[in-house]
């Protein structure tokens, strides 16, 4: 097509670019002027931004990314904000440290502060395993009811929080160990079967009378030292009550068999290494008020 002749599309009355493919012509509709200027504006803005703000990743031999003239860092801002929060809480945290756990729970203003602080700490640190509001999960005890494996008093909860359960590296941690009766060959499969029915009977569930009766002596020999002669458990050893409806790892025949065969010894970290004292006290009060504190 000749260069000096404008080719205008008949149908739309718009000039074409002169390009044509299989009879399809390209119309020349340039971008609106304002759009172009906005685009130029963003290019200029990008250049200015790169001068003032972190923009380029680390290049070989240049260390970390560019920091820009403003030396901006979101990480530092977060650290500063956290420090601000801590200093804003100093006064009330100090009063938490001075007061006993009972005083915190009964004093209106201390209680409100401790519960608010405890709720957010619980959400950040504990809810992953124990669930929101301490609803618990298989293997992770429910904290909202009044069934406690170790201790449900304020001081007991604080102790558990500080030292954890079966936490390596803390000599004062709450510790006990149930043997893996089946896996380590201490008991035969038949004996475990019988014990399973013995436990089912103790908790009032359907069971095989004969199988349960056969292992009565075996239970007293192998289990009663921790779980008690009548199966009500022992808080000192964290041995659960076998006669209630509360099952940490399930109360079905298969689940109980599995527990006796493999043993379940779950862990909780010692939080005194990770949280400050005020936080631990707030958490203890929060957990104690969830529903079943003693």
């Amino acid at each position: 097509m000749a260069n000096d002749i404008r080719d205008v599309d008949d149908h739309s009355g718009v000039e074409t670019t002169g390009h044509s493919w299989d009879g399809i012509k390209e119309l020349n509709n340039p971008l609106p002027r304002w759009w172009l200027f906005v685009w130029y504006g963003t290019i200029i803005w990008a250049a200015i931004y790169m001068i003032f703000m972190p923009a380029l990743p680390a290049l070989p031999g240049l260390g970390t990314n560019t920091t820009g003239l403003r030396n901006h860092s979101d990480r530092d801002l977060v650290a500063a904000a956290v420090a601000d929060l801590k200093s804003a809480r100093v006064a009330q945290s100090a009063s938490l440290l001075e007061a006993s756990l009972e005083e915190i729970e009964t004093d209106r203003s201390l209680q409100q502060f401790a519960l608010a602080m405890g709720e957010s700490l619980f959400g950040d640190n504990c809810a992953t395993c124990h669930g929101a509001g301490g609803r618990g999960a298989v293997g992770y005890p429910m904290l909202a009811d009044d069934v406690w494996l170790w201790d449900g008093t304020l001081d007991g909860i604080e102790y558990t929080l500080r030292h954890g359960i079966r936490h390596e590296g803390d000599d004062a941690t709450r510790f006990s160990m149930m043997p893996s009766f089946g896996r380590d060959g201490l008991l035969s499969s038949d004996q475990i079967d019988g014990l399973t029915h013995y436990v089912l009977r103790g908790s009032g569930q359907p069971h095989d009378m004969e199988a349960a009766a056969n292992v009565a002596d075996l239970y007293q020999a192998q289990c009663a030292s921790c779980h008690g002669a009548n199966g009500t458990g022992d808080r000192l050893q964290g041995a659960p009550n076998l006669t209630d409806q509360e099952w940490l790892f399930g109360g079905s025949e298969a689940a109980i068999y599995n527990t006796i065969y493999n043993a379940r010894n779950s862990h909780m970290p010692a939080w005194q290494d990770r949280l400050d004292d005020a936080s631990i006290k707030a958490l203890a009060v929060y957990v104690h008020t969830l529903g079943g504190g003693e």
């Binding site: 008949d10 009879g23 004093d107 209106r108 209680q111 301490g134 529903g291 079943g292």
Partner: protein, 488 residues
């Protein structure tokens, strides 16, 4: 980015008829240069402008003593403490329906006034009208009246034009900034935030909103003007449904004005109308319409054309009122040589709106006068929904929020009922039965209590009622909440 067109018939354009190029549907806005009118309506508008601006600029500075520790600003929307103060009225988040009622009242008031007097709100008191009028006044001060402004705009750039334009926009921006700056005073303690503004201590949101309001004022009143009313505002569309032929509107009385035409002094007034086509009504119009074409969507009924026409009628020795507040039905009657009906204030829609306003207003006054000073909100724990205790009972946890809206601390008696054998405990208190318990609430306080309610196994899914009672005042607030248990 180019558009492509499919050329189905290669021979098109030679044989068949070529369709006409698409017609441009976009009309460019014509700059309007309103001329200064003189007369009583112009005077009324100056007064209303001064009054409304004074209210807007000065209201936040007005103080209102409410006692210790409570903001003493007469009108304040205090977001920090979640309260709205309006002279003697104090609205808590729980009373937010009063704000809704206020908005409904405002809408009904607008309906009523529109049925009576047409768009007086638009013409006199709407902020868009007031600030546009103010901006045109500034424009006139720098660039002169209509003719001078038109000349200046068409003239090439010169020092004279430059300083006048620069001066105008500077003053516009100052006014805009002042407007935006005052807006934020309604949301914080005015003296504090005004001082903080200049020392950099004001909250960031204050700078943001002041900036936004500065820009909107500058653009809406300086540049957009009548386009806001014509294209952006929904009111011109709604008012068509509200006004009728009985409403007083700014009206050209065609029965008297037609046939119109220019007239020499020597010519007689026989067989012609009073309108001499002087165009004054069009020149003063801030929305650039000709009122002689009848009621129009663009018309904001500012009545400046009445002033312009009256001035001209006086000059040529004819009676004033060729353009006046009149009803369509009266003009039509006179045109048909009948006696125009008298203007009727009592029409069914007027009575209806008045009754609605009185009803809703009365309800709100009654509500305010008897506003509860205690309130209870119950929030049920959702996780876990319930727990079974070792003794078999089912327990649900609740957070009870007690609101005390008076300046004295009080005791509130809480009782919970609804299930046979129910007991409840309040965390931090020695209480574990079904008897009512007294809980303290601070002055102007919102206190939270954690309550554990338990019921015998088998209660299932039930409703309980949580009642809060002030023994001294006798006020009671009862809340229902659900009680969850295992499905049976």
């Amino acid at each position: 980015m180019g558009q492509t067109t499919l050329n189905i018939h290669p021979s098109a354009g030679q044989g068949g008829p070529t369709p006409p190029p698409p017609k441009d549907l976009y009309a460019k806005r014509l700059q309007i240069y309103p001329k200064l009118a003189h007369g009583r309506f112009r005077l009324v508008k100056w007064v209303v402008m001064a009054a409304t601006l004074a209210v807007y600029y000065l209201l936040p500075w007005l103080r209102w003593d409410r006692g210790m520790g409570i903001p003493n600003q007469a009108v304040l929307a205090d977001f920090q403490s979640e309260k709205f103060y309006f002279f003697f009225i104090e609205i808590w988040p729980q009373d937010i329906h009063f704000l809704a009622g206020l908005l409904i009242l405002a809408a009904l008031g607008l309906f009523l006034i529109t049925s009576l007097l047409g768009r007086v709100w638009c013409g006199y008191t709407c902020p868009q009208t007031v600030w546009t009028d103010l901006y045109i006044w500034v424009e006139r001060a720098f660039e002169g009246d209509r003719a001078a402004r038109m000349r200046l705009d068409h003239a090439p750039w010169s020092f004279n034009k430059a300083w006048r334009k620069l001066g105008k926009h500077t003053v516009w921006l100052v006014i805009a900034f002042w407007t935006g700056g005052v807006f934020i005073l309604y949301w914080h303690d005015a003296p504090t935030v005004a001082q903080g503004w200049f020392t950099g201590a004001a909250p960031l949101s204050a700078y943001w909103f002041a900036g936004i309001l500065t820009l909107t004022t500058y653009f809406l009143a300086g540049w957009m003007r009548e386009q806001v009313c014509t294209y952006m505002c929904p009111w011109p569309r709604i008012q068509g449904a509200l006004t009728d032929e009985h409403a007083l509107n700014v009206t050209y009385r065609y029965d008297r004005g037609e046939p119109r035409g220019p007239k020499r002094k020597s010519e007689s007034w026989d067989n012609r109308g009073d309108c001499i086509d002087c165009d004054q009504c069009v020149q003063v119009c801030p929305v650039g319409i000709d009122i002689r074409n009848g009621s129009q969507l663009e018309c904001i009924h500012c009545a400046l054309c009445i002033d312009a026409c009256d001035e001209m009628m006086t000059k040529i020795g004819r009676p004033t009122g060729l353009i006046a507040y009149d009803t369509d039905i009266a003009v039509a009657a006179r045109a048909a040589h009948q006696t125009p009906p008298k203007f009727r204030i009592l029409r069914s829609r007027i009575i209806l709106y008045t009754l609605l306003i009185a009803g809703i207003g009365g309800l709100m006054v009654w509500g305010l006068a008897t506003k509860a000073t205690i309130e209870a909100n119950v929030l049920k724990d959702r996780s876990p929904p319930y727990v079974q205790l070792s003794n078999g009972r089912i327990q649900n946890g609740y957070t009870l929020k007690l609101v005390n809206k008076v300046s004295e601390p009080r005791m509130m008696q809480v009782s919970i009922t609804g299930i046979e054998g129910l007991t409840f405990a309040v965390v931090g208190f020695e209480h574990a039965d079904d008897s009512p318990i007294d809980l303290p609430v601070e002055a102007f306080g919102v206190d939270r209590y954690r309550i554990l309610v338990s019921a015998p196994e088998g209660a299932g899914q039930r409703q309980i009622s949580i009642s809060v009672h002030d023994i001294e005042t006798g006020e009671t607030d009862t809340n229902r909440a659900s009680f969850r248990g295992p499905n049976q």
